[in-house]
């Protein structure tokens, strides 16, 4: 039991810091650059993202292990996972609107953006590829969500200051954001080798 817990913790640390989705795996960049302009949206996106990621990791795990493996249709995993994720996002959108309109008002628009995001799809694909157990899948989803949240919030706080900086004209907007991300990624390389799984 003790070792299990240690392994889960290691998985979370590794998914969030060492193999951070944005800085070392380069996933979810469109959303990363899209919503990191303001701190408020970045925080809202992070919360929605982490919860959707954990739940969809869990659901996909059940479908992969109890439906796809027995039926021997694992080669259809791309089609099935994207269906699962899109259905789940749509369902939670509808449920949230009915059950808690306040929360929907705050987070609903991020939910709509998420459905075709590559990180959300990458988590079930990686879970299936690495043959993680149920708890490990959830932990991996959680760690990835935290990592993405960390990246978004760091970036948002830098970009708010970048607005005031004197940037050469062709570099305004996205190009300078890329260069800044490169600098953060350089800092994140410092985490490599922290834990080896």
């Amino acid at each position: 039991m003790q070792t299990d817990f240690v392994k889960l913790f290691e998985l979370i640390v590794s998914a969030s810091l060492i193999n951070n989705f944005v800085f070392t795996r380069f996933l979810g960049l469109c959303i990363f650059f899209g919503v990191s302009k303001k701190m408020e949206t970045a925080v809202g996106m992070s919360i929605t993202f982490t919860s959707v990621m954990m739940i969809s990791a869990g659901i996909s795990w059940f479908i992969y292990n109890y439906v796809m493996i027995p039926l021997d249709i694992t080669f259809l995993k791309i089609i099935i996972f994207i269906g699962v994720v899109a259905t789940f996002v749509q369902a939670s959108d509808t449920i949230m609107r009915k059950v808690s309109p306040d929360l929907y008002y705050k987070l609903g628009i991020y939910l709509a953006l998420i459905s075709t995001n590559c990180i959300i799809l990458a988590v079930p694909l990686i879970n299936a590829g690495e043959k993680y157990t149920f708890l490990e899948s959830i932990a991996f989803g959680f760690g990835s969500g935290i990592g993405f949240a960390l990246a978004l919030i760091i970036m948002a706080s830098i970009r708010e200051r970048l607005e005031l900086a004197d940037v050469p004209e062709p570099f305004r907007g996205l190009p300078i954001a890329f260069v800044v991300t490169g600098l953060i990624a350089l800092a994140f390389t410092g985490f490599s080798g922290l834990i080896t799984i």
């Binding site: 080669f75 995001n117 590559c118 190009p175 890329f178 350089l186």
Partner: protein, 209 residues
């Protein structure tokens, strides 16, 4: 189909490569642009895979456009895209196993490309097969062009080689093949293209009119 008469195929292709270049102009589908471009070979392979998927998806959607109910079009588009991505994925796994090991995940994630869905929705679902094919060709070539340029510079500076063949004898800039280098390369190239755009294209269009 009055639109088709006015737009020539050449313009359709050029539009995808220059005016609406997926990476440098629209800043979409950025993930693989950085992830697989540490060597020219992988960059070109990824570009070809995307080109293939884009053309096939555009043609399929265009053939099916009269049978798709508008209300459920997005799920159908996703289904068509993921079908063609699965085809590409399995072909790559069979014929290029080494490259597939390095970039398999990113091939599978072509399915989440905003640019492919956008072309299906904006162009292929409203036009005939042949223009849709050329539109897909243009967008795909634009993507291939961007990936080739990025990976060319990254491999040249980071490993001192092109397509695996060493050219420069000096000590390479290791940072360019690291993740951070990918962001730098894309950022700097984007800035460069913006600058070129302002300097030449803006002038050319203003003198024409």
């Amino acid at each position: 189909m009055s639109v088709e008469d006015k737009i020539s195929y050449k313009e359709l292709v050029l539009n995808g490569i220059v005016k609406e270049n997926t990476i440098f102009k629209l800043a979409l589908s950025l993930c693989p642009a950085i992830a697989v471009t540490s060597s020219l070979r992988n960059g070109v392979l990824m570009g070809v895979a995307v080109l293939f998927v884009q053309v096939m998806v555009n043609m399929t959607i265009s053939l099916m456009r009269n049978f798709i109910h508008p209300r459920i079009r997005l799920p159908i588009f996703m289904l068509v895209i993921s079908g063609w991505v699965t085809v590409t994925d399995m072909t790559m796994a069979a014929f290029a196993p080494d490259a597939y090991k390095q970039m398999g995940l990113y091939i599978q994630l072509i399915v989440a490309f905003a640019s492919i869905l956008a072309r299906a929705e904006m162009f292929a679902s409203k036009n005939n097969v042949v223009p849709s094919m050329f539109d897909g060709l243009g967008m795909g070539l634009g993507f291939l062009f961007a990936l080739t340029v990025i990976s060319f510079f990254r491999e040249l500076l980071g490993k001192g080689a092109i397509w695996g063949m060493p050219i420069i004898d000096a000590k390479p800039l290791l940072i360019m093949v690291l993740p951070a280098g990918g962001f730098f390369a894309v950022g700097i190239l984007m800035g460069l293209f913006n600058w070129l755009d302002r300097k030449y294209l803006a002038k050319a269009t203003s003198s024409h009119h």
